[in-house]
């Protein structure tokens, strides 16, 4: 009994701690770091027949989930905090992925099927004689990374500048983002584009000289991904908790009011959109070496919509909600598609409907209400700092 009691106390204290500004963050960061480090150690140090051994497949799966978590966070920053429902963030993710894919392609060198030291296999196959100009320099890691950030960033800037300056909002903007990613998908499907057509880029050998099939490389990629998730999470938290973040939420709730207070809301939206696109691009860059392929399917509108579902499930307007949502839904997807592959899309659709109707603030909202119930105190003096709507959790838990 006393054990149960103390356990309940401890858990309520934990939940209460997570509600303090910044604390929830440290918990999430801590859990992420501990879990990935433990997984890495279990993979590298334990023998394969140990019950605690973590397979390399699981390591890669976890890395993939974390890339998705980062993408979800990128969508959440623009949707949850600024009200820009982007249904095209998969485009920035895929562009980042193609940047990394081009680098990995060039690293293959003469180990391809055709053994051409300069041209990737698909170019040899298409009878191309020399490397297209936009492939130059992509064999340099730093240059490939630079381009993988520059291109999505520029695209987001130009798109955002045109859309937000013309004050396109709401569903029209969502449709435009959808069209953007769809157009890119059609373009990348074409062989003349020089990105491998519908096969995309694949058959990678190594990254920075390390064998991509080796366990140690896989573990290192997972750790780098975790590190970057944590880094972008902390950076985003700094942004949403600064005055900039408050202006962004103000734009979401009352854009006209914000504008008549003298804020150029379109500038705020454009820069936030670019920031978000860059995070999506980083996620794409980390995704490609881990799954070993990038093809135009990543641009498909459906992918971008799925990201929105992750964020909705986790709870938009909270950064940790987006991460948790992405991890949970993708885990469910892995499980479900193994059991009943045909049912997954229905399950996803049902999930979205249920969350929208019954949990408008997602799991984070549920969580926030639970902690509020467990931690309600008789003296109301301090409770004034919290709000009764789910948005409070947005800021407190950010």
């Amino acid at each position: 009994m006393s054990v149960l009691n103390s356990l309940a106390q401890a858990s309520s204290r934990l939940l209460a701690a997570m509600r303090q500004p910044g604390r929830g963050t440290s918990w999430l960061v801590g859990i992420l770091l501990v879990v990935t480090l433990a997984m890495s150690a279990a993979n590298l140090l334990l023998p394969a027949d140990s019950p605690f051994y973590v397979s390399t497949y699981t390591i890669t799966l976890m890395g993939k989930y974390l890339c998705f978590a980062m993408l979800a966070m990128a969508v959440d920053i623009v949707w949850g905090y600024c009200g820009i429902l982007s249904l095209g963030h998969g485009a920035f993710f895929a562009l980042g992925g193609y940047g990394m894919g081009m680098y990995l392609m060039r690293q293959i060198g003469d180990r391809g099927v055709y053994g051409n030291p300069d041209l990737p296999d698909f170019m040899v196959f298409l009878n191309w004689q020399e490397l297209p100009w936009y492939w130059f320099g992509m064999d340099q890691f730093w240059f490939a990374i630079f381009m993988a950030l520059l291109v999505p960033g520029t695209l987001a800037f130009v798109f955002g500048w045109l859309a937000f300056r013309s004050r396109v909002t709401g569903v029209y903007l969502s449709i435009m983002t959808q069209a953007l990613t769809y157009a890119l998908m059609l373009a990348f499907f074409r062989n003349e584009m020089g990105f491998g057509g519908n096969n995309g880029l694949t058959d990678f050998k190594d990254i920075l000289g390390f064998d991509l099939q080796a366990d140690a490389t896989r573990v290192a990629l997972l750790l780098v991904t975790t590190f970057l998730v944590v880094l972008t999470f902390l950076a985003s938290r700094t942004i949403v908790q600064s005055r900039l973040g408050r202006v962004i939420v103000a734009v979401r709730d009352a854009e006209a009011r914000t504008r008549f207070l003298g804020y150029r809301t379109e500038h705020y939206k454009v820069w936030l959109f670019v920031y978000s696109a860059l995070i999506a691009a980083v996620a794409g860059m980390l995704y490609v070496p881990q799954v070993g392929i990038i093809n135009p399917g990543e641009f498909s509108p459906l992918n971008s919509i799925e990201v929105v579902v992750w964020v909705a499930v986790g709870g938009r307007g909270t950064l940790y909600g987006a991460i948790v949502g992405a991890l949970l839904v993708n885990y469910a997807k892995t499980r479900f598609t193994a059991l009943m592959p045909d049912a997954w899309l229905f399950a996803l659709g049902a999930l979205f409907v249920i969350v929208t109707v019954y949990l408008p603030r997602g799991l984070a909202g549920l969580f926030g209400r639970a902690t509020e119930l467990m931690y309600r105190r008789p003296d109301t003096g301090k409770d004034k700092t919290t709000r009764d709507d789910g948005l409070s959790v947005a800021e407190v838990g950010a």
Partner: protein, 281 residues
């Protein structure tokens, strides 16, 4: 006019020594009210799909004045505010803020930065933020993205927020979310947000709509106390309220000024009686 003449005219304009080239003038500058008039609106015309919302409207507002605008629905009150704050472009006419600022050459954000604050008809505050944060976001200062990222509240700014909180009587609600305020409190908070921005000219659209009698009275006191240091233009339907605060009243009708004067003068004006009371009688 031949092209050469046209060119010569432009060249002459460029060579004038009594004015500065427009592109050299800083966008943000203090308003010049040396002639005691803060707002000049002349020959304003705005039409929406053939409907003349403003019809050759002329209006001058003195510096430090408390002016009430009244008029039936569709008389052009809100359109007038939209033109002043840069939301609506006008077809013809001119709008000057003091001697030196052409309002038609600026957009909403710049006009707000020049010192014109606007309260909406429906109280609009940032509901997800606390009262305190609402005022913080409204404080006078730079509005750039990068500055906002590093902005920290300074001591004087904090004092300013406290001052505004006491003026609008929301000291006890400072950490409440604005969405949880009552309708009247939201109206005050929005006025407080304008005050925090320290504007020269306040445009207040229906400040007492939906307020209790007591709240209305306090709002009247607040607006009267603001006049002098600020110029206040109030649009209101509540005649009792207008009578309680107004010194000068302007009556709008079909997009033009019908009459102007004290409340008594306006009420005894024959045109006004014809247009307004004539319908009632």
């Amino acid at each position: 006019m031949s092209p050469i003449n046209h060119f010569a005219g432009q060249a002459r304009e460029l060579m004038r020594r009594d004015t500065t080239w427009p592109f050299l003038v800083t966008r943000r500058r203090p308003v010049d009210v040396s002639k005691d008039i803060i707002l000049y609106l002349e020959e304003l015309n705005v039409s929406f799909d053939g409907f003349k919302a403003l019809n050759n409207l002329n209006l001058y507002v003195n510096d430090g004045e408390l002016r009430c605008l009244i008029g039936a629905n569709g008389a052009g009150k809100t359109t007038l505010m939209d033109v002043i704050t840069g939301k609506t472009a006008c077809d013809s006419g001119s709008a000057w803020f003091g001697q030196n600022i052409d309002l038609l050459a600026h957009d909403e954000a710049e006009i707000a930065g020049l010192g014109i604050g606007r309260k909406f008809q429906k109280p609009t505050v940032f509901e997800a933020h606390t009262v305190f944060d609402n005022l913080e976001l409204s404080l006078r200062g730079y509005r750039g993205v990068w500055r906002a990222l590093t902005a920290k509240l300074s001591g004087p700014e904090r004092d300013r927020i406290e001052e505004v909180l006491s003026v609008i009587g929301l000291e006890d609600a400072r950490y409440q979310s604005a969405g949880a305020l009552s309708h009247g409190q939201k109206q005050w908070l929005e006025i407080g947000m304008l005050l925090a921005a320290e504007p020269r000219l306040l445009l207040v659209d229906e400040p007492v709509a939906g307020m209790t009698a007591e709240e209305t009275e306090r709002t009247a006191e607040l607006l009267i106390s603001l006049a002098g240091k600020h110029t206040v233009i109030v649009v209101e339907h509540d005649m009792e309220f207008v009578r309680s605060i107004a010194r000068t009243v302007t009556v709008l009708h079909q997009g033009a000024v019908l009459a102007e004067g004290t409340m008594d003068q306006v009420q005894n004006n024959r045109d006004v009686i014809e247009v307004y009371l004539g319908e009632d009688a």
